[in-house]
Symmetry: C2
Subunit: 145 residues, 2 copies
DNA sequence: TAGGCCTGGTCTAGATTTTAGACCAGGAAG
DNA sequence: CTTCCTGGTCTAAAATCTAGACCAGGCCTA
């Protein structure tokens, strides 16, 4: 027993630990961490969904709304603006009869697809386990009163 | 020109497209998609941060709060409960003088670390590009009045 | 010429979510 | 007897999100 147990089995721990320690080490605190800002944005409830929709092909405003029926116009506009500001998508206006606007991923936006796909894969794979855990938790809670 | 261009360069597109299509194909709509529910949870602003903190080692309630100074007690309690319900973390109470509670990742929680680490790596790598894009966007907007 | 519909939004009011911080029980230390 | 520690709960106010009315402007129908 050296204090190092199964160290070689935990590369993700190592990676995150390293990052976290550099984030919280003296010079800047988590509250100001730019990576955290980016993660917050990705967690925006609509952001990832829009990126996934645009991953198929460029879409027009109303097309996105049809793909994601429960987003409000306001949030769609705002999320698209934020994504555009962050350089993740482009916005192109076409002078058609009723003017149309097309949104598409930039190279930066496309580079997000790989990590995002991994997360989606994880979510899909873990979904049954999570559902089981939820049922168990709820049942235990109910039986406790 | 067959209509298939650089198809082998876009595995993430393929993966996401496949998923998205199966989500939105007839039988269930995006609004009910369980994967989306999971992604929403991960985007909870605090969830990923807490998972990253617990990736180092198990932590006590107040320890987590010290690691993430700007989370309120209420949200910390709530997020921890949600994570526990989803089977991502365990909660163990020790009958010490002032009772202490330790939170740690389950196997399921640990399995999230890999995709999460990839996302964090992406965020870290992309952060300069995003910062540049933001400045450019803001400058363009300001110059337009 | 009026009316309706399409586009991509903006705006407002109400609902929901998050925050800050007071409060609590119970044991220890001074 | 007061103060501090633990891990929370609760409430009121602030921030955010939703639903849906509204808008300009061009087209179609009659």
């Amino acid at each position: 027993m050296t204090g190092l147990r199964a160290n070689n089995l935990r590369p993700a721990h190592e990676c995150l630990a390293q990052r976290f320690q550099s984030w919280s080490s003296g010079e800047f605190d988590l509250g100001l961490c730019p990576v955290r800002g980016i993660l917050d944005r990705l967690g925006d409830k609509w952001t990832t969904l829009i990126v996934i929709v645009l991953a198929q092909r460029p879409h027009r405003f109303s097309e996105i709304r049809r793909s994601i029926p429960d987003i409000s116009k306001r949030m769609l506009t705002q999320t698209l603006r934020d994504l555009e500001r962050d350089g993740m998508i482009t916005r192109r206006v076409f002078p058609t009869k009723p003017p149309s606007v097309e949104y598409g991923l930039t190279e930066l936006g496309e580079s997000l697809l790989e990590p995002l796909a991994q997360l989606v894969t994880w979510a899909e794979k873990s979904q049954p386990k999570i559902a089981t855990a939820r049922s168990a938790f709820d049942a235990a809670e109910a039986s406790r009163g």
